[in-house]
Amino acid sequence: MRTGKWGKFVVLLRMQMTRLRTSWRPYLIVSSVMPLGIALLLRAVMDPAQVRAFGIQIVSGSVVLAISMTAIVMLAQRIASLRETRAIDFYATLPVSRSAVVAAILVSFAVFSLPGAIVVCVAGAALFDLSLAALWAVLPVWALGSFALAGLGVLIGFGAPDEQLAGMYSNLAMMAVLFLGILPAAKIPGWLDPVRAVLPSTYAVNALKPGFQGDPGIGQVWDLLLLALFGALFFWTVRGPLWPKDE
């Protein structure tokens, strides 16, 4: 019996997942240390009266930052490295579609971001005395948020001219996620609103907040739909126009 399309995708995904053999520690450490450190710092300098008001925003922003560290920064650098060393040629010459290759890479890095997101979620909730009763509500946000953010990571990885610039661009994107995600909207200058609007992390943070309030519900659906839309848009861009061809 021959291996069909779905079987090939599963093999591609398993290939990507083998990175966990050597890289699970860096993925976990990189994605959890910085967001947790920032949450801890803000908690330490915060007036106790403000904890309730800003805790949900800070923890939600930190969880999304944890996802971004893997899904944007590490993924963008990985893709750029594959391009620079021409290792991407291996995939490009297999009888599998570009969509399958991009989807497998994207899904694998979304998975890699999960442990960091959970660690930050649980520790952040404990730090700011938030409810974990609706922890399950984090899962759809993680799934669609990491899909959208990994899409951005792949976009940067394919679009940047080299690995160094991919690192720089992805770190800039991560900084935007950090400031625009952790700071409450009211504290952000109005001229940054367009940037917030085009960053998928904004909608991931919005979708996370009701869960920490112990009140997840239909209000999240709009943000989740937007995340799915961002993911689909990035996916379409990288499987077509941005697929590498050194002309």
């Binding site: 291996t3 090939k8 291996f90 010459t93 061809k245």
Partner: protein, 319 residues
């Protein structure tokens, strides 16, 4: 369309935009199923650019490439190329965390083989390439040679009708190199079209049915190794090595051998007309004295000689 040549290339031209370089110009050749074809030439001759167009990684500026009669590139041609052509690039491995066995099996499955076929083909290739001891080792932990062998195995697994290998035996020891050559020759005999890019003239001579020599993006000559060597059949190289204690000088030997003499330490050689080779050698031995000579040889042209004659390059200097 399987009766059509595996590849037909006509008037292919590739110009890079930045910096503007004509990498291939007027390239025309065809490769039939069941034959091996080689692209031989120095670095920068345009060999890799050419094969990257054959596998759809680059788009030609102009010209025509046909794979089993169907034009490339065309809509959906990436998948079609992948179904027919296995390509070994010069570049790095995509996934160092894969184990050798997985790399073979999963590549075979990606080429459409079922699990059982993938397993049996992988086992066979792993044995042939002597990778049994490292079958459970991650690729990043292999030596350079073992990694290259694994890449070759990943190219051959799945038995696609065309294999293209870009300098496959770099970093491979001579014994295994010979084994790879025989594996490629066997594949060609069993109906696969083998296209080989190489610097190595010995490789070209051992493996290939036909050779094209590329120089600055164009094919300067093409034919079977025997046909190419026949171009120099009218000449024989006389090679003389002076004994360590010889009183004769290399200059005096060179003078006896005539024009275009090459001197390398105590070794002096020159091309002479084939029918004059014995007479020339006799003249040297008589003049210098047999006791002053450590070694004398009459050498018929090799493919390397043809290459040097045609291009004026020394391959090993280019590598």
């Amino acid at each position: 369309m399987r009766h059509a040549p595996a590849y037909e290339v006509r008037n292919l031209r590739k110009t890079y935009r930045s910096p503007q370089v004509v990498a291939n110009d007027g390239i025309t050749f065809s490769v039939d199923a069941g034959t091996s074809f080689g692209l031989l030439g120095p670095n920068g001759a345009g060999k890799t650019t050419l094969v990257r167009q054959l596998v759809g990684l680059l788009t030609p500026t102009s010209g025509d490439i046909r794979l089993f009669g169907e034009p490339l590139p065309a809509k959906g041609s990436e998948l079609r190329i992948g179904r027919h052509v296995a390509y070994l690039p010069q570049g790095a491995l995509a996934l160092g965390e894969l184990k050798v066995g997985e790399a073979f099996r999963w590549t075979a499955m990606m080429r459409g083989c079922g699990k059982a076929t993938a397993r049996s083909e992988s086992a066979e290739l792993i044995e042939t390439l002597e990778l049994g001891e490292v079958v459970d080792r991650q690729l990043r932990k292999l030596s350079g040679g073992q990694r290259r062998l694994t890449q070759i195995g990943m190219t051959l697994v799945g038995r696609l009708p065309v294999v293209i290998l870009d300098e496959p035996t770099t970093d491979v020891d001579p014994a295994l190199r010979a084994r790879i050559w025989s594996l490629l020759a066997e594949r060609a005999r069993s109906g696969t079209a083998v296209i080989l890019v190489t610097h190595d003239v010995a490789e070209a001579e051992h493996v290939l049915d036909r050779v094209a020599i590329l120089e600055r993006g164009t094919i300067t000559t093409m034919g079977t190794p025997a046909e190419l060597k026949a171009r120099l059949a009218h000449r024989t190289r006389v090679e003389v090595v002076l004994a360590e204690r010889s009183t004769a000088t290399t200059a005096s030997v060179a003078e006896l051998l005539g024009a275009d003499t090459r001197v390398d330490g105590r070794r002096v050689s020159a091309w002479v007309p084939a029918d004059e080779a014995l007479v020339t050698l006799e003249k040297v031995m008589t003049s210098i004295g047999a006791d002053s000579l450590e070694d004398v040889r009459l050498i018929t042209p090799t493919l390397e000689d043809v290459y040097l004659e045609l291009s004026g390059h020394r391959l090993e200097e280019q590598a």
